[in-house]
């Protein structure tokens, strides 16, 4: 097997909570292992509060993990702190496209400056002609018309802003592009354009993608492998088609059954009621899904299930998978 581009091992992030109460910890991300191969597109799904966004920030090195390591091409990036990592050349290799392009672009920057900014900051490009050439190339790659380059974000449509967000992420030629709900703020007709653009860019530039979305129909379109998170832990990893046709974890099954599908109108499908357990100091010996899980036995309350292999690239963390 070739060396993975990104290899996260036992990645953990905890936040102290409760002010006066000493020692209470919110387990946002708990011992997550994740690998992404060069050129691979991995999907990350799970409900709000499951730790997707925290994991994204950890992998992008925007925050420091409580414990665990992230290897980029075999080199441990977590050996240096997040504050030092910002100044290192590897910083440019992982880029993020944020959720809402209207809020993640600087409103007082013209499109040109928004795209040029990462070039100046991360790669230290100072030469104006070189800067212009690279900005224009990135704009062209994302299909942004030249006349829009001098505009401000408020003069652009939602789809155009999304293109700017993608252009400024790919302009530094990253190896890994993290897409955090890149189309959730867009109408379906615009979403279709952006999804096709992302598929096209990946084919042309050979980047790896980590695609975070709550819409499984969207994740399915672009990703070859999907990671399902629940309450800070990875509960299932599987090749895309296998995840949809033969899900092993009860949470994944409920998630897939919840996708609205006119073709399955009126069919009784498993529903997931209630809310997740508290992420504050969870019992390390109880499955996080216990209490909400339709199976749920005594064993689930006394032993945390490990992520076990069930086939080529298929892993699930459930005693009854």
């Amino acid at each position: 097997m070739t060396q993975p581009l990104l290899d996260a091992r036992a990645l953990t992030k905890r936040y102290p909570v409760g002010g006066g109460k000493r020692g209470a910890m919110l387990h946002a991300v708990d011992a997550v292992d994740l690998t992404i191969a060069p050129g691979e597109c991995v999907g990350l799904v799970g409900e709000s509060g499951c730790g997707k966004s925290t994991l994204v920030r950890l992998l992008a090195r925007l925050i420091d993990p409580t414990s665990g390591n992230i290897f980029l091409d075999g080199a441990d990036t977590t050996a240096v702190s997040q504050a030092r990592f910002v100044t290192m050349p590897d910083r440019a290799r992982i880029q993020v496209v944020f959720q809402d392009p209207s809020e993640s672009l600087n409103p007082s920057f013209r499109v040109f400056d928004s795209i040029a900014d990462p070039l100046k900051r991360l790669l230290g490009v100072r030469d104006r002609d070189k800067l212009a050439a690279q900005v224009h190339r990135a704009a062209e790659l994302v299909g942004l018309p030249r006349e829009l380059i001098e505009r401000y974000p408020h003069q652009l449509s939602g789809g155009q802003r999304a293109r700017v967000g993608i252009a400024r992420a790919i302009v530094v030629e990253p190896s890994l592009l993290i897409l955090d709900e890149p189309t959730s703020a867009l109408d379906v007709s615009v979403q279709a354009i952006i999804l096709r653009l992302l598929a096209d860019l990946q084919a042309r530039l050979g980047m790896s993608y980590l695609f975070v979305s709550h819409d499984l129909n969207v994740v399915r379109l672009l990703c070859s492998r999907i990671v399902v998170m629940y309450l800070g832990r990875v509960v299932e990893v599987a090749p895309t088609e296998e995840l949809f046709t033969a899900p092993r974890h009860p949470y994944t099954r409920a998630l897939i059954a919840s996708i609205p599908d006119p073709a399955r109108r009126g069919e009784a499908r498993p529903r997931l009621d209630g809310s997740p357990r508290s992420p504050i100091d969870p019992d390390p010996n109880t499955c996080r899904f216990y209490g909400r899980c339709p199976t749920g036995t005594d064993r689930c309350a006394t032993a945390m299930p490990e992520l076990l292999r069930f086939g080529e690239g298929h892993f699930a963390a459930c005693h009854f998978a």
Binding site: H214, N217, F244, I259, P260, R271, S275
Partner: protein
């Protein structure tokens, strides 16, 4: 016909500093008893404006240009404020898009449900609490006695949405208007909430107008779907028919742009162009500039409805 709601040739404009926005033009739609009708369209299509107009809630800048909205026997546009206040909350209820902003943040949810019951249900005050708890239990909120005393911030988004639904359903309304009731909720919660709305419609013969941008969601839960584009209603049909044999070019493209479990990224179609500026002079068909089937006839006013069957109507000169 015993339509619970009838909207006929309804037109509404907004007068703004930047010109008159023709937000709705000649919109017609009816909802029968016990029926779930979806209004589907992209942002800016006018679907929320329509929902608010049915409730009799209009922005100060809004001007009704023509048409009628009949709720049961009541003319919603001609009725006085008192008559509207009487039906709202009791016979006509609405679920708003974001439950966190629609609920009063400094009152307990139980007290907020009691407010509605006190106003509309004609119950002795000692019974209010019992009925409020029953309303919470009906939307399957676990442990309703305890949740009765919760403030909105203590509840998750899904729970807040259920409280909103409990409030809307507290007086067993005849018509429920659900404006994007599951936006911002997880798919698992969305499924539970939508099941709940569907069951209430079936069990109590409640009519529902579901406003959504999600064709997949409308396709699973609605009996009929009305598609809106730029303030026009362009097609109305029973769900299966609309999904399998769309007649309006816009409906077909909207369907092709919506990812389903069977889509491929190459198969996704984007809709060329943008919504027209509703302040300008507009052609009879507001989709004509984006339409590949456009012919000279399309520019002749007025644009008629074409009946493909008794229940399938399309507003297009050259339907598919």
């Amino acid at each position: 016909m015993t339509a619970q709601l009838t909207i006929e040739d309804f037109s509404l404009v907004f007068r703004t500093r930047h010109g008159t926005v023709r937000a709705l033009e000649d919109v017609s739609l009816s909802v029968e008893r016990g029926e779930i009708v979806g209004v589907v369209g992209e942002s800016g299509s006018g679907k929320s404006v329509l929902a608010y107009a049915v409730m009799g809630l209009q922005d100060a800048a809004a001007r009704v240009q023509g048409g009628r909205i009949l709720f049961g026997g009541l003319d919603m546009l001609g009725a006085g404020e008192q008559a509207l206040a009487d039906v709202r909350g009791r016979e006509l209820a609405m679920i708003f898009q974001s439950p966190r902003t629609a609920l009063n943040p400094i009152r307990k949810v139980g007290a907020q449900i009691e407010d509605i019951l006190r106003e509309h249900a004609n119950l002795p005050s000692r019974e209010l609490r019992k009925h409020a708890i029953a309303a919470l239990a009906r939307v399957r909120i676990p442990d309703p006695e305890r949740r009765y005393n919760a403030y909105p911030f203590e509840l998750s988004g899904g729970m807040c949405q259920r409280v909103m639904i409990a409030m809307a359903l507290a007086c067993s309304p005849f018509l429920l208007i659900a404006d994007e009731p599951t936006t911002g909720l997880d798919v698992t919660t969305q499924a539970v909430i939508m099941d709940l709305i569907r069951d209430m419609s079936r069990d109590q013969r409640m009519s529902t107008l579901l406003i959504t941008h999600d064709l997949g969601l409308a396709g699973e839960y609605c009996d009929r779907i009305a598609v809106m584009h730029a303030g026009h209603m362009v097609e109305i049909a029973p769900v299966e028919e609309l999904l399998s044999r769309p007649a309006h070019p816009y409906t077909r493209q909207l369907l092709a742009a919506t990812p389903t479990p069977r889509s491929t990224v190459e198969g996704l179609v984007s809709i060329p162009g943008q919504l027209p500026d509703l302040r300008r002079d507009l052609p009879p068909c507001r989709f004509s500039a984006r339409c590949e089937r456009h012919v000279a006839l399309c520019d002749e006013a007025p644009l008629p409805w074409t009946s493909l069957s008794a229940t399938h109507l399309v507003r297009c000169r050259v339907p598919l």
